[in-house]
Point group: C2
Chain length 687, copies 2
């Protein structure tokens, strides 16, 4: 698979007195060119061009270490390796059944301040990955990172889709501004509904960061394979339009405690002239390690309902105290009955365990023990009841941020799950982290999330993490880590201040979802949230048809039907789409997409001939016409459209939809209109 | 047991414009009087007199809270309770078989800044305990302590025996100075051999703090029942001779995260005109809660040998790498053979498990897994070999300070111990603590040590902790927490800089041992430490006879014979004392003691008529004459003396000893001479 291809590489002799190119390497299709330059002052820069357009201008690399206290800014290139890789691999579950992994690799073996560092670049047809590798070497074994100095120098004042840099949360509303207009402080000041925040400064934003240039390219900056390292955010120098990596600190201000051999996460730059190609990129997945577990037969994509949204909208509550305990046996049975009747795989139950009376906001360490159900929750009979009906309970482990407590109890909690026949856990990290001083995105917590995935795998448990660090494609390595929230999810429809604005879900695929599946929890059918509490003015700012389309546009192998059984009962015809939609796929085509405006995606169900399409828009209505040339030739398809009614409108008439059939074929253009804040979900079945 | 005795209490009407006495309460024998005063500015002070001498001058009380951000300095007394308690209890093991618990209690129910606080004083015949209690109350549940403001205002410029205040270690050499001469910075600068230090400032010292006044009393300040709270150190204001409590902070500078109802640890002031009474005090034990476990039959005092000292003195080493691995099967068998032959209960094995090649000094989280023996250590066959010979291996869990790692693995590690038939674990915390930013003595770590004791008890395991927080009598509550190091132990004999000075062991009973048993590891017979490494100049600064006497003067139910089998082989006559000495006692008499000079203690073996005496001196030789009036009347005893030879001297001739028999009775005075740095151990058997 790996072979040396020195012919791919242009290498240059370096003269110390002049800035000199060190090496140039193209992507396999030659569309992307990476060049590295040694400057007069000794630093190394890289630059990236896409079809002749400068995407990344000269950007420096390096580190400041805390221990030993030295700077790694000036590099001497000792030798250069290059190679080409072309392979394919099959994900255990995913958006496509086979993934091509083609790139050319450049390795600069360097020394800086006496320390050996390899700078590794992989150039794909849709972007570039770069990482640092510290090989085993004499006199340098343990080290502490103070700063990573990786730059991403922008070639213009791009339009950016960004959220404020924050050590503890990624649940902000996205902002769309020019780079020169980024102001994270002002943006964050508008947010009132996020439990814990720790802002990083006016000019710091989070990745995945999506940008669009004035001269016709899209660029997404993120990271892949975040292992034993803090999350990367980006600080923008607005005078030079240069981003620099900012790592999340630990309690004493250090960033990472490392030991050779060590490879940093990949810094990823996905780029294309077409927005659709950004969404189709598998670069981040390709830069992650293969699955750690041999046997993956126990890992299954699933659809679930849950005892959850009715707590958010005031019908019930998590604690037993207060008289509105949602997770009581009778109520959960009602969910099981409904979910079983409609073919779901699981029922999530929040508020099942003791501790909710005093769980949040006080940095309290001992909150939940994860093995003590409330007395009105008959877990044994419910789990038997569920299994007799062919589905499983999904366990909820809210840690309230007290991770030391959770880590002490994880083994016992997972053994408890196994003993109850439960194979999926939704974890939560609402609250300031304990160990106190750590952050949701610091190295220690990154290691924790990965540890949860590993330990859960030992017990054959699947994980859906909430309030966790931004995903970086680790679902390839840990395929039981099915999904994460790690962004502003549908629950914010109930948030008083900003809620979920219609364009939010058109940005998510270009940002949060670049890293991996999101448990967004779509499927809300009742848009006025005063159903059980007449004082509430919050509304779901989406049409019902858009809620259906999200099952396609927000990729996850773990999809929730978030609304209440009684809210689905009134719309069983529309609910049929949620029942029918697949959660695992053989193929995916991004038909049409523009961040902040619209997204249309088609997916072919795993091992079936059925295609599904999701099409969504922002606050603007628009006509959509989709070429169906991905369908098989020579056969007719029945297209079942779940579309906005002609008078639908996310503000005035969100629940109005039309279900209609059309006969289509490979040569058809499927046309429909998305109303304001609307969407369309389509099932395409071979006749 | 508890009854109201208002007659004991003098209560006063308080006029707001004048400083007024609030209440006065005497000890049961009226030797100690506590009075509380409300000052004009609203603060509450307490004062303590011993037989008319002022021991604690007016000292204020209170807190500064971080959350809510308020000061609790001014108090309104709402009501006053008093009561008297007189009871006895039997420790599971200990220095005496029954302990009397007699005190008068004063409770001032107060409010400060709208918050209810009870100030609780217990006045014993040998001192005073005070604590704060925050009852359950409306609008005040969770709170964070920024500072505790408890003062101990000294009535004179006493002679003090102190070590520098430090967040992470209590392994300093004791200093003896006037209060006005305390300089922790200068003292600490002389120490070069302590692994991790975090000094607290020039005027901060640790408890137990021992003092002697010019006007004839001894005072020891410490704390009891340190639970869910950081350790207390003391900052001295040298202008006013006033100590104030200083709590060890966590990673973000907070001291304690608390929730009502909460009681702080007791602040203890043990006082007497006789130094011996300080050592006999059971005040700290009485202020701890009774044992948490019903069944304590599995808890057994024991004597052990160990694969340990030979690593310190360079014969062997902990890591497998390097070719000097001590904990190999053959070598451990040698220890087992010797220990079994001489009737020991256990053999400690350090260096048995993988990880020692890279264990310390890099703040590394994943070091040991506690279940992976080195390949040359046949744990199964060794544990069987040991048990066939009637003893047990003692497990070593060195955490290298990575407590998050240990907590994750504790259950598995303890299950592993149980599976190997091992019932005692020596824990170690050498290194900077992880969670990073926490300290050895912070609230989180205090909770950890207590958690270890609780979890170990679930597995019926006994614990001997090293590098842990200063003990506070919790061995009453957790009787499986047999001993702790938590001070400068015998291992420092091998430290290049200060070593163990002869007076050290005469101070330990008045300081460290006030809190509980110490695993000092006495019994060194070979005083030149160049036995296996001719470059070493360190020497044990003790005579051999003093090493024997330490088995009595350093109380522990877990006593090690620390030297190598081959070093005992040459002195089997002296070794007989170590074989004979008990580790659990029916009675203890402190015959004669002066901190920094000498200590003579007699103890009666559990359920036996045999008494043992240990007598030690500092760098000065002295003649000792001990009245044996504690012996039974009307019967003769054979006294076997293990004493310094006439020409013994800790510097010039430390290994010279004489064993001699005497016939004595209750009316005898036992006389012997302690040589410089010397000691005498005596066995008194009924004839």
């Amino acid at each position: 698979m790996m072979r040396f291809l020195f012919c791919l590489l242009s290498a240059f002799v370096v003269f110390p007195s002049l800035a000199q190119q060190v090496a140039v390497l193209n992507s396999p299709n030659k569309g992307i060119q990476l060049s590295t330059v040694k400057t007069v002052d000794g630093s190394l820069t890289y630059q990236v061009q896409l079809k002749g357009k400068e995407v990344i201008s000269n950007s420096t690399l390096g580190f400041i270490l805390k221990k030993p206290a030295i700077e790694l800014k000036k590099f001497t290139v000792l030798s250069i390796d290059s190679s080409a890789v072309s392979s394919t691999w099959k994900p255990i579950w995913g958006e496509v059944k086979e993934i091509s992994n083609q790139y050319n690799e450049l390795v600069l073996h360097t020394t800086s301040n006496g320390i050996l560092i390899d700078l590794i670049f992989r150039i794909f047809d849709d972007g570039v990955g770069l990482r640092y590798h510290f090989p085993v070497q004499a006199n340098f074994q343990h080290f502490i990172v103070d700063q990573e100095l990786t730059q991403f120098n922008m070639s213009g004042d791009h339009t950016a889709f960004w959220i404020p840099g924050d050590y503890d949360t990624n649940e902000y509303t996205y902002n769309k501004t020019k780079l020169s207009e980024i102001d994270a402080t002002t943006a964050a000041a508008k947010e009132k509904d996020i439990a814990v925040t720790a802002l990083m400064g006016k000019n710091v934003v989070q990745t995945p960061l999506m940008m669009k240039s004035a001269n016709g390219f899209y660029l997404n900056i993120h990271e892949a394979a975040l292992v034993n390292y803090p999350a990367m955010h980006l600080r923008l120098d607005q005078t030079t339009q240069t981003f620099q990596s900012v790592l999340v600190p630990d309690a004493v201000g250090n960033k990472a405690y490392l030991q050779t051999p060590f490879s940093t996460p990949w810094r990823t730059m996905v780029m294309s002239e077409k927005a659709e190609k950004i969404l189709e990129s598998k670069l981040i997945l390709n830069l992650n390690e293969p699955a750690k577990f041999g046997d993956s037969t126990w890992i299954k994509p699933q659809k679930f309902m849950g005892m959850w949204w009715e707590m958010h909208i005031g019908k019930a509550n998590w604690p037993l105290a207060g008289g509105k305990h949602g997770a009581n046996t009778a109520n959960v049975k009602r969910y099981i009955d409904f979910a079983a009747q409609h073919g779901f795989d699981g029922v999530l139950v929040e508020g099942w365990n003791q501790g909710w009376e005093d769980w949040f906001g006080n940095w309290k360490e001992e909150v939940f023990d994860f093995v003590s159900p409330y007395p009105d929750y008959a877990i044994d009979s419910l789990t038997q009841y569920a299994q007799a009906k062919g589905l499983r309970l999904i366990m909820h482990h809210e840690t309230s941020g007290s991770v030391t407590n959770y880590e002490r109890r994880m083994d016992e909690a997972y053994q408890y799950m196994v003993s109850k026949g439960i194979n999926t856990v939704k974890t939560g990290y609402v609250g300031k982290i304990i160990p106190r001083g750590e952050h949701h995105d610091s190295q220690w917590m990154v290691n924790h999330y990965n540890r949860v995935a590993e330990k859960a795998a030992k017990y054959h448990l699947m994980v859906d993490s909430h309030e966790s660090v931004h995903p970086t494609g680790l679902h390839r390595t840990y395929p039981n880590w099915m999904a994460a929230e790690a962004a502003r999810g549908s629950e914010f429809n109930n948030a008083p201040t900003l809620g979920i604005i219609p364009e939010h879900t058109t940005i998510l695929p270009f940002t949060r979802l670049m890293g991996g599946p999101m448990d967004y929890t779509p499927g809300l059918f009742h848009m006025s949230l005063n159903q059980f509490d007449s004082t509430r003015t919050q509304k779901v700012r989406s049409t019902l048809a858009k809620q259906l389309a999200l099952y396609i546009t927000v990729y996850s192998p773990l999809q929730m039907a978030a609304d209440l059984p009684e809210n689905y009962e009134g719309h069983l015809d529309a609910f049929q789409f949620i029942k029918d939609v697949a959660v695992d796929w053989d193929d995916t085509k991004v038909l049409s997409a523009e961040p902040g405006d619209y997204v249309s995606i088609a997916r072919k169900a795993k091992n079936k001939d059925t295609w599904f399409i999701g099409s969504i828009t922002d606050e603007n209505a628009r006509n959509v016409s989709l070429a169906l040339d991905f369908l098989d030739a020579g056969t007719a398809y029945e297209a079942m459209l779940y579309r906005d009614a002609d008078d639908a409108d996310f503000e005035k008439n969100p629940e109005a939809y039309v279900i209609e059939k059309k006969l289509v074929s490979k040569s058809s253009n499927l046309t429909f209109r998305l109303q304001r804040g609307g969407g369309c979900a389509v099932v395409l079945k071979k006749l």
